[in-house]
Point group: C2
Chain length 399, copies 2
């Protein structure tokens, strides 16, 4: 018997399944086979190894390879069976009264090619439909249960930020300092893994970097990069020393019960040069501008352009969200069970904000040779505003 | 300018490219497009975001989206260009004198379906061939450079094990203890991320669990499971307390410059019951038996059966490598840049050991309600034996 402080409530699971079924109905999809661990957890409450079939109507069938008993305990779904091979899926769902789908939805954005080929054989009479867009659109809008969890996760992120002054010391390496922050986060129940949907992208907690190191660009889709400890990782903290009078970027993610909180704070041992302080204030003003203008219905691409215009007007055209040609073309992103959920506050995005969406808004200035300043908060879209779930002071913390 | 303590030597990269080209020749493949970060790092020395084309003959072309300047510094390859879109790949490789491949190799075991569809359009005249088996077979046999790195990584793993007595205290939660071990590992340069090739499998450092908690099965393909901190993770350390007179499993992975060392040691605060001590000794005997018998040419499936037979003869039939129906059917696995490399010491495997392979051999006994004992070492296949790269004592450390 596994005792967790929290499992997904049965009613929450049922409403998620129903909302997906409505999307299937509209898109002429007869059933979906959920394979990815995160989607499996979202729809079933368990991340055990297996396959979840959700028909357009009726009860889903959760087929578990390992571990069946845990899945039974963790999931509120009623139809849970033990299964050895995916080849048995069609006959298993038939036993539960589901007909073989004419149009079968699969997560083609994340599924591997060899798995796809296998499922084409198993469901040889079905058309394979990419259902990932519908899943991502659904997951972009959070339920009250999810909002509550992300509030708790953000509270933990605030606690980690408040602990930084006790942990940081001049002369430490970035990686040494990062390790202490991570250990503290773990003691609060941080699950460690930060999940991303984007193929083959990985992140370890986030970015802790000191001074100019934070401004080093990397492979990662982020305004900040970092040297990292080696070229196989090539991002995040490395062996640079923490010095006085440099901005120390703490862009570290908390994950509580699967749910992510993403925020960034700048610390400094001693004062910072005026140009960095001024740039930080400019980023806070951009954040405020978005908070004053964004409401349900706001188009995410428009919000992006407003931020870019304001950054340019303030003289940060070439340093906003990165320096150089490959600076990123977004200023915010949705988050939840994954770090890169819908919506994206990005060039050309047509998606409108909806009540219940949660976005990490991150106006940042990257000054090569000097460092990174700016802000990031996890913001909830409410009826008429954006509410920050992270509440640690936005100002630079001079220690 | 990024300064790393180590980048892959140019000669090492060239020999890896040549060895792959020989495999392409034999398998009638005209060229390979490498997309996955780990394979990219293996063949080019950089893990920056981009695409690597390796023709069956001639120089490879490394096309980088982000960050180009870092890729130039990190990679010893000569032909490195900046590229914005994968649509430009055919014309770019043509500019370097490569003809459009009739048979194009792709990593179909890891590539996502939507990427595959994109590349089918970009290379509309080419046959798509799964090249992953050839890549994995090549990577299974380590070069002297890789062996040296894995020796260094194992030395770090030994240092972490030696630090455990300073970090562990009765009454701590598993996760709190794990955080301290992780922080120490980070201070030694641990990169954090442990990479796996198996789709949607993730692991955070490894498994640290106390007493019966280590015997809880999970979704993870491992003899041990663990409660984990929540059902979205459902493996590894959780909130159970560390108590006296219980086996504390420390199966924690070190990763140095991308290269993994995997080993397991058992600690205990005070003495352990005789049945656990006896079971641990039995696992050491099984390890010794394999060390005495395994040489280049040994069939991995045969080694597995020998271990199973010996465990059964010693009375552990139902508890060796897990308890219950879903206990795992392997006793060891290759490792390198990924945790699940070839070869697998597993049921039915026909692959023979070769000089230069490195395997993590992990005979373990899982006793529900009591805990886990046993051993794991990273072993190098030499001319006439298995050499343990991890050297911390195999005995249970009674503290």
């Amino acid at each position: 018997m596994i005792k967790y402080s929290r499992t997904t409530p049965e009613a929450e699971q049922q409403s998620r399944i129903l909302a997906l079924q409505q999307r299937l109905e509209k898109n002429d999809v007869d059933g979906v086979l959920i394979l990815q661990k995160v989607d499996m957890f979202y729809y079933s409450g368990t991340a055990q190894q297996g396959w979840l079939y959700i028909p357009v109507q009726g009860e889903p069938v959760l087929m578990i390879f390992k571990d069946f008993h845990r899945a039974r305990e963790e999931s509120g779904l009623q139809q849970v069976v033990c299964l050895v091979s995916p080849k048995e899926i069609p006959q298993t769902i038939a036993q539960f009264g589901c007909s073989i789908p004419k149009n079968l939805g699969l997560e083609l954005d994340v599924l591997s090619v060899n798995q796809y080929i296998l499922f084409q054989k198993i469901f040889s009479g079905s058309n394979m439909i990419d259902i990932s867009l519908q899943i991502r659109l659904q997951r972009a809008v959070k339920s009250d249960y999810e909002i509550d969890l992300m509030r708790k996760s953000s509270h933990m992120a605030d606690k980690v930020a408040a602990k930084v002054p006790d942990l940081i010391k001049e002369g430490m390496t970035e990686i040494e300092f990062a390790g202490l922050v991570e250990a503290y986060a773990r003691s609060l129940g941080h699950q460690g893994l930060v999940r991303m949907r984007m193929w083959d992208n990985d992140l370890f907690y986030g970015h802790i970097m000191a001074g100019p190191g934070a401004a080093v660009p990397s492979c990662f889709a982020s305004p900040t990069g970092g040297r990292g400890v080696n070229p196989s990782i090539a991002q995040g903290p490395g062996f640079d020393l923490i010095k006085r009078n440099e901005p120390i970027l703490v862009d570290y993610i908390f994950v509580l019960d699967g749910y992510i909180s993403d925020h960034t704070r700048i610390f400094s041992l001693g004062s910072l040069p005026d140009d960095l302080l001024k740039a930080h204030d400019a980023m806070l003003e951009i954040q405020d501008m978005v908070k004053q203008n964004a409401i349900p219905g706001s188009i995410t691409g428009d919000l992006y352009e407003m931020m870019i215009s304001m950054a340019e007007a303030k003289g940060y055209k070439d340093y906003f969200m990165g320096a150089g040609e490959r600076r990123i073309r977004f200023t915010g992103h949705g988050l939840g069970l994954e770090l890169d959920e819908f919506p994206f506050i990005a060039q050309g995005q047509k998606l409108a904000l909806e009540k219940g969406m949660i976005i990490a808004l991150e106006p940042k200035v990257v000054l090569p040779g000097k460092g990174v300043v700016g802000i990031e908060n996890s913001l909830l879209v409410t009826q008429n505003s954006l509410e920050s779930l992270t509440t640690f002071s936005d100002e630079i913390a001079i220690l």
